[in-house]
C-alpha cells in the first residue's frame, strides 16, 4: 500500500477496521502455557493478562526466558503441540483463539494477526525468493493471481522502504542486508493488512542505526495503517518511543504494567529499575557504567518460592521469600499495576535514590527499614500501599 493509492482490497479491510463494538482488539486473560519436557514441566507463561486496543502499541519487556516470546506465540496458537498445555483465554475480536480449531486459527494467522521475528535471516526461507515468500503470504488468505500478487509484493517492499523493489522482489534473502531483510519481514507481515502486528525482538539482530530506522518504520506504518502492535523486547529503550503501554515480564508473569510514561517516570518494580538502568542513554555521561541486573533468570521448571524475583532483588526482605506478590494497582494510579512486596513509599524513595546516584547499600538499608513496618502484614493480600 502506498500513500498515493491503496489497492481496493486494502481499503475495504480498512473500512471494516473498527473492532467489535466497545471491546479491545485483543484480550489476554490469565494465560498459562506449560511444556512437558524430560526435565520436568516448564511454566513458560504463568497467568498473564493484558489487552491491546486497536491502533495502539503494547510493549512487552523482559529478559530472555521471561516468557514474553511464548506468550506472544501463543497469541497465534504457535505453541500448540503435543507437549504443551495452554490455559486461559486469548480473545481476539470477541473470539477465543484458544478454543479455535487449527483451521480457524490458520485463517487468523498472517491475516488478522501477523508476526515478525528476531532474526530476519533465519526467519526467511533461504531457498525462496523474497517476492515468492510475500506472495505466498498473500495467497494463503486471498485469492489473487500470481501476477497481481507479484505486483503487490513489489508495492509492499516499496512501502517498507526498500529501494528498487522491482528488482529486489526477485532476489533471495541472502542477497539482502540485515536491515533490508527485516523490512522484508515487516512487508510480509503487512501483506494482508493485519489488525495486530506482533513484533518479537524486531531489532535485536540489527545494528544501532538500523534499529532506529526499523522502529521509525513501524511507528510510521502504524500511523498510516492503523495497525495495533505488540512489540516484544528485552530492551526498554526500544519501546520508549513507540509503545503506548508497557508490560514488564519476569519468570512467566507480568510484574509491572503501565503506560509508557508511568514506566519511565515512576517505575515501581525493582526489576523494572534494573531494566531501566541497563539502557544505554545518550544523555548520560559517557563513562557511566551500564548496570546489568545481577544474577540469572530463574529456572521455569523449579521456580523460586515467594516473590520469583527475590533471589536477584537487592532489596529483598525475609518475608519476600515466602510471600508471592499479586499484581495490584499502584496507589493513585489505577492503570498502573505492580507485583512487589515493598511498600509504595519505600519504592518511591529507592527509585529517587537510584536517580540521584545513592549507593546501593544505603538503599538496601532503606528497604529494610520499610520491612519493619510491613512485617506484620503477613496476609499476602495486604497491599504494600496500605502502609502509606
Amino acid at each position: 500500500m502506498t500513500d498515493a493509492g491503496p489497492p481496493p482490497q486494502g481499503e475495504s479491510i480498512a473500512g471494516d477496521d473498527p473492532a467489535p463494538a466497545g471491546g479491545p482488539l485483543l484480550t489476554v486473560d490469565d494465560l498459562r502455557v506449560t511444556f512437558r519436557t524430560d526435565d520436568g514441566i516448564v511454566h513458560a507463561v504463568d497467568g498473564i493478562s493484558y489487552t491491546v486496543e486497536a491502533g495502539k502499541t503494547l510493549g512487552i519487556v523482559g529478559e530472555s526466558g521471561s516468557g514474553k516470546t511464548v506468550s506472544s506465540l501463543s497469541t497465534l496458537g504457535l505453541t500448540r503441540s503435543r507437549n504443551s498445555q495452554i490455559d486461559g483465554r486469548i480473545v481476539f475480536e470477541g473470539r477465543d483463539i484458544n478454543a479455535m480449531s487449527d483451521e480457524e486459527l490458520r485463517k487468523i494467522r498472517g491475516n488478522d494477526v501477523s508476526m515478525i521475528f528476531q532474526d530476519p535471516l533465519s526467519s526467511l526461507h533461504p531457498f525462496y525468493k523474497v517476492g515468492w515468500q510475500l506472495m505466498e503470504a498473500m495467497q494463503a488468505h486471498q485469492s489473487m493471481s500470481r501476477s497481481a500478487a507479484h505486483t503487490r509484493a513489489g508495492e509492499l517492499l516499496e512501502l517498507v522502504g526498500i529501494p528498487d523493489p522491482k528488482r529486489r522482489v526477485d532476489q533471495y534473502p541472502h542477497e539482502f542486508s540485515g536491515g533490508m531483510r527485516q523490512r522484508a519481514m515487516i512487508a510480509m507481515a503487512l501483506a494482508n493488512e493485519p489488525k495486530l502486528l506482533i513484533a518479537d525482538e524486531p531489532t535485536t539482530a540489527l545494528d544501532v542505526t538500523v534499529q532506529a530506522q526499523i522502529l521509525a518504520l513501524l511507528g510510521d506504518l502504524q500511523r498510516r495503517l492503523g495497525t495495533a502492535i505488540i512489540i516484544i523486547t528485552h530492551d526498554l529503550g526500544v519501546v520508549a518511543e513507540i509503545a503506548d503501554e508497557i508490560a514488564v515480564m519476569y519468570a512467566g508473569r507480568i510484574v509491572e504494567h503501565g503506560s509508557t510514561g508511568q514506566i519511565f517516570s515512576a517505575p515501581q518494580h525493582p526489576y523494572t529499575w534494573g531494566l531501566l538502568k541497563s539502557i544505554p542513554r545518550l544523555d548520560n555521561p559517557r563513562d557511566e557504567e551500564l548496570v546489568p541486573i545481577s544474577g540469572r533468570p530463574p529456572s521455569l521448571i523449579n521456580r523460586p518460592s515467594g516473590c520469583y524475583f527475590h533471589p536477584r532483588c537487592p532489596y529483598v526482605q525475609e518475608p519476600h521469600k515466602r510471600i508471592d506478590p499479586r499484581l495490584e494497582s499502584v496507589a493513585g494510579e489505577s492503570d498502573h499495576t505492580v507485583a512487589c512486596l515493598l511498600s509504595t513509599d519505600i519504592r518511591q524513595r529507592i527509585w529517587e535514590g537510584l536517580q540521584t546516584g545513592r549507593d546501593v547499600d544505603s538503599l538496601k538499608r532503606l528497604a529494610a527499614s520499610g520491612n519493619g513496618r510491613s512485617a506484620p502484614a503477613t496476609i499476602p493480600a495486604a497491599e504494600p500501599g496500605e502502609e502509606q
Binding site: L73, L76, L78, R82, D102, R106, K107, I108, R109, G110, N111, S114, M115, F117, D119, S122, S123, L124, H125, P126, F127, E136, A137, A140, H141, Y172, H174, E175, M185, M188
Partner: protein
C-alpha cells in the same frame, strides 16, 4: 556457475583417467592369472604363450599398453575386446546396461516412494507409536543382507519356487522393449529387495533432517503466515530437508549403475554387475577395465549432477 561446471567436468575426466591407470596397475601388479597362459592351455609351449602375449599386446611395457588402451578409448571410443570371448567390450556393456539401468532406476523409485513418506510421517509424528514402529522397521531392513532378503523373497513369493505364487521369480527378466509388462513384473521383487535397505536409510535420513528443518525459524514464519500445515511441511520443511537425500540419491544411483552384483545374481538379471563379476573370475581384463571405467564414470557424473542440483536446490550455493 558455468566455469564451475566445466571445472568439475575436467576434474571428472582426470579422475577417470586416474581410475583406469589404477585399475591397470592393480591388474598388472597383482595378476590373478596371466591371460596368455589362460588362453594357451595346459602343457603349452613357451613359443605359443609368447605368440599369444604378443597378439594380446601383453609383451609391451605396461605404460605402452595403457597408452594404447586410452588412445583407443579417447580417439575411437573402443574399449577393446574380451580376452575370453573376443566380444567388443562396448557391445557387451551396451547389451547389459539396460538391465542394470532398469533395476537401479526402478529400485530408486521404489525406495523414494517408500522412504520419503515414511521419513516425513515419522518426523511429523515424532515420538508416536507410528514413528517408533517405522524406525524399528527401518533398522530391521538396514541390517538385512540383500542376498538373504532376495532369497527369502524368492522362496516366499516367486511364482515358480515360492510358497505363494505371486511374482515372476529369478531369471524371468526381459528387456523393456521386448515386453513391457513382463519387464515390469519380473523386476518387482528385485526392485523391492534392492530398495529395502535404501528405503530404510532414506527414511531415517529424511526423518532426521526434517526434524531439524521443522525446528528452524523459517518454519515458524511459515506457520505465522497462516499457511496450511501440509504446505508448511512440504514446501518449507521437506524442501530444505531433502538436500542430503538428493546427495546420497545421486551417489547411490551412480554406484548402483556400476552394477548391483548381488541382486543381479540372486534374481538372475544379466546386468553390468554380473558382467564385471564374471570378468574378474575369468581374468578378462578388458571387460574388468571397461566396467570399472563405466562405474567410475557413473559415480563421477552422479557427483557432478549432485553438485549442480545443489546449486539448483540451494540458491545460496549459486552465489558463493
Amino acid at each position: 556457475m558455468t566455469t564451475y561446471i566445466i571445472r568439475r567436468i575436467l576434474w571428472g575426466i582426470l579422475l577417470i583417467i586416474l581410475v583406469s591407470a589404477l585399475t591397470f596397475v592393480f591388474f598388472n601388479v597383482f595378476p590373478s592369472a596371466d591371460p596368455a597362459i589362460l588362453r594357451a592351455g595346459r602343457n603349452s609351449s613357451p613359443a605359443t604363450i609368447a605368440h599369444i602375449r604378443h597378439n594380446l599386446g601383453l609383451d609391451k611395457p605396461v605404460y605402452t599398453q595403457f597408452w594404447i588402451y586410452m588412445k583407443n578409448i579417447l580417439l575411437h571410443f573402443n574399449f577393446g575386446y574380451s580376452y575370453y570371448s573376443g566380444a567388443s567390450v562396448l557391445g557387451l556393456i551396451k547389451d547389459r546396461l539396460p538391465a542394470t539401468l532398469s533395476l537401479t532406476v526402478g529400485a530408486a523409485v521404489f525406495w523414494l516412494l517408500a522412504g520419503i513418506p515414511v521419513g516425513i510421517i515419522s518426523a511429523v509424528r515424532r515420538g508416536t507409536l507410528l514413528d517408533r514402529a517405522a524406525m524399528s522397521g527401518a533398522l530391521f531392513f538396514v541390517s538385512m543382507p540383500v542376498f538373504w532378503l532376495g532369497l527369502v523373497m524368492l522362496f516366499l513369493f516367486a511364482n515358480d519356487i515360492g510358497r505363494f505364487h505371486v511374482f515372476p521369480g529369478a531369471g524371468t527378466y526381459v528387456g523393456l522393449t521386448n515386453d513391457p509388462v513382463k519387464w515390469f513384473t519380473s523386476l518387482i521383487m528385485p526392485w523391492i529387495v534392492l530398495a529395502a535397505t535404501s528405503a530404510a536409510i532414506y527414511s531415517r535420513l529424511l526423518r532426521g533432517s526434517l526434524i531439524e528443518a521443522m525446528g528452524e525459524d523459517y518454519i515458524r514464519t511459515a506457520r505465522a503466515k497462516g499457511l496450511t500445515e501440509r504446505r508448511v511441511i512440504w514446501r518449507h520443511g521437506v524442501r530444505s530437508a531433502i538436500t542430503p537425500v538428493v546427495t546420497i540419491l545421486g551417489l547411490d544411483i551412480g554406484a548402483l549403475l556400476g552394477g548391483a552384483v548381488i541382486t543381479e545374481t540372486v534374481f538372475d538379471i544379466p546386468g553390468i554387475g554380473r558382467l564385471n563379476y564374471d570378468a574378474i573370475v575369468h581374468s578378462d581384463f578388458p571387460i574388468v577395465q571397461g566396467t570399472v571405467l563405466l562405474a567410475a564414470l557413473f559415480i563421477i557424473v552422479a557427483n557432478i549432477i549432485v553438485d549442480i542440483s545443489y546449486a539448483y536446490l540451494d540458491p545460496r550455493v549459486r552465489y558463493s
